[in-house]
């Protein structure tokens, strides 16, 4: 890859990953000048669902970086993995803050009830706590400090993504098209890893060509 392309790749990817936020800023602008015009008849829920949907997509993109680097032989993607993960975390934090501050309006009684009784919220919170630990330890310093534990800690992404998928699945009353597509995406990326590590190849009989 030419040096210029290499220098531009990461900022360009960062720009692409922030496009939904630019679109959202426009929707919020519409909403503020004329209520319900930007985010729909139920603006707080509209914002909540917009950020939730994109949180999941961003998580799946971050989860796809390693397989894509391997399959596309695009080594530069490796240098974008942390950025993609932190983008996903940013969407997740905005989703959570919207829920707590705008939607539940910081009613602690309601929040506690939701954490305990709404299984989909319990799953979402569990996913968030994992992502929080990953984001906090994403710096070079923590990577060195934690040594081999860093890798183990960040393997928890294999739990955080399915928990986020459960969060969506359990929230839904009916209509599972997007949930199915996200689950497929996740499954493909897991299968790719298994195959790359040789778990999927059949044992070759001795003497076979």
């Amino acid at each position: 890859m030419p040096i210029v392309a290499r220098n531009v790749f990461k900022p360009a990817l960062g720009f692409v990953l922030s496009l939904p936020l630019l679109w959202l800023a426009y929707l919020i602008y519409l909403e503020l000048i004329s209520p319900t015009s930007g985010l729909g008849p139920d603006p707080a829920e509209g914002l909540l669902h917009f950020l939730g949907e994109w949180s999941l997509i961003m998580l799946l993109i971050a989860f796809s970086v390693t397989p894509l680097r391997r399959r596309l032989r695009l080594l530069i993607l490796g240098r974008c993995r942390r950025m993609a993960g932190l983008f996903a975390f940013t969407y997740v934090v905005m989703h959570l803050v919207t829920y707590m501050v705008l939607y539940v309006e910081l009613s602690w009684a309601l929040l506690l009830e939701d954490f305990y009784e709404r299984t989909y919220i319990t799953a979402g919170m569990a996913s968030f706590l994992i992502l929080l630990m990953m984001a906090l330890t994403s710096t070079r310093g923590w990577q060195l400090r934690l040594g081999r534990y860093w890798r183990r800690l960040h393997t928890l992404i294999f739990a955080a993504v399915p928990l986020a998928l459960l969060h969506l699945l359990w929230l839904r009353k009916d209509g599972y098209l997007d949930t199915t597509l996200y689950a497929l995406w996740f499954a493909i990326m897991v299968l790719e890893r298994l195959q790359a590590k040789g778990y999927l190849s059949r044992a070759t009989p001795p003497g076979a060509a």
């Binding site: 139920d42 707080a44 829920e45």
Partner: protein, 306 residues
């Protein structure tokens, strides 16, 4: 009496037929005129002092009508394709008059009146809607239910070519949508069959040409675009109960004391809301209509019969 006479004048007697697209337009418009003239007044039973009407554009653009898709914006996008004229209703079961009836025949001579009701969804949002409705008892009595009828079951139209949600591979609903009421609930004066809202003919996305409105129950009981009415001895199995019996029951009375696994029922967000104000308020037992309807459930354990 005077009121009934005035609306019994048929469209052909007082208004050139051509003025009106169809008789059902007339039904809606005449009721609106009467309500507007103050002859009927608004039946505001159970309204609280701070209940304000939810704007028409929200009532008609924020709908759960899964026949057109699971997004609340889907119905207004797709319901335009629905043909509601002609409309036939099949009446069956424990009644003397059964068979197929044209919608116009059934509502002919019946009075639609404006009823302003709170509407509470199981998803914990709520609205205040000015419906135009006919007391359900007036409709059902025409079919002369027999003594053995204990319940009435309703079904929504099944027409996948006009209702894209019914085609969806990713829906687990067993169409057509089915709901039911105990007959005493159906005969209760608060229960109406709505044919309009905001003084207009009922929009397709709100369940044209007619839909049930039972204001003390969660919104999913108020079945839309009804084509079948069946009188029965057994409790009907309603769609949501069939899909998830641990979450949705037959009665579905609004009850802040019975939590739902997905939504706290203790409070509700009243639309319109804004980004920075959810207009949250405590949910009232029977959606605030306890004085009128609580006696229907005397002696029943409402945490069991949810």
């Amino acid at each position: 009496m005077l009121i009934k006479k005035s609306t019994r004048i048929s469209s052909t007697e007082i208004t050139p037929e051509s003025v009106y697209r169809s008789r059902r337009d007339f039904i809606g418009k005449s009721a609106a005129l009467i309500a507007g003239a103050g002859l009927l007044g608004r039946a505001n039973a159970g309204l609280q002092p701070d209940d304000e009407l939810t704007p028409e554009e929200i009532v008609t653009q924020y709908n759960n009508f899964y026949e057109f898709g699971t997004d609340k914006g889907d119905p207004v996008k797709h319901a335009g394709a629905l043909t509601t004229d002609p409309w036939t209703v099949t009446v069956s079961g424990a009644a003397n008059k059964t068979g197929e009836f044209a919608y116009e025949e059934v509502v002919k001579g019946l009075v639609a009146e404006e009823r302003v009701y709170r509407f509470r969804c199981v998803e914990a949002w709520s609205m205040v809607v000015p419906w135009l409705g006919i007391p359900l008892v007036d409709i059902l009595k025409q079919f002369e239910p027999t003594g053995s009828a204990k319940y009435v079951e309703f079904k929504t139209l099944y027409r996948p070519e006009e209702m894209p949600g019914q085609n969806s591979f990713f829906s687990s609903i067993d169409w057509p949508y089915t709901e039911g009421l105990r007959l005493d609930e159906a005969y209760h004066p608060l229960t109406i069959m709505a044919v309009g809202l905001y003084g207009k003919t009922l929009p397709n996305q709100n369940g044209a040409p007619w839909r049930l409105v039972v204001p003390w129950k969660y919104g999913f009981k108020s079945i839309k675009s009804i084509v079948s009415i069946r009188f029965t001895e057994q409790e009907p199995l309603n769609t949501w109960q069939q899909l998830q019996p641990s979450e949705y029951g037959f009665y579905a009375n609004v009850n802040p004391a019975v939590a739902h696994p997905r939504w706290s029922q203790a409070s509700e967000r009243r639309l319109p809301s804004s980004l920075f104000n959810q207009n949250r308020r405590p949910t009232l037992p029977f959606n605030g209509y306890a004085d009128e309807v609580a006696s229907l459930y005397a002696g029943m354990d409402l945490s069991k019969f949810y």
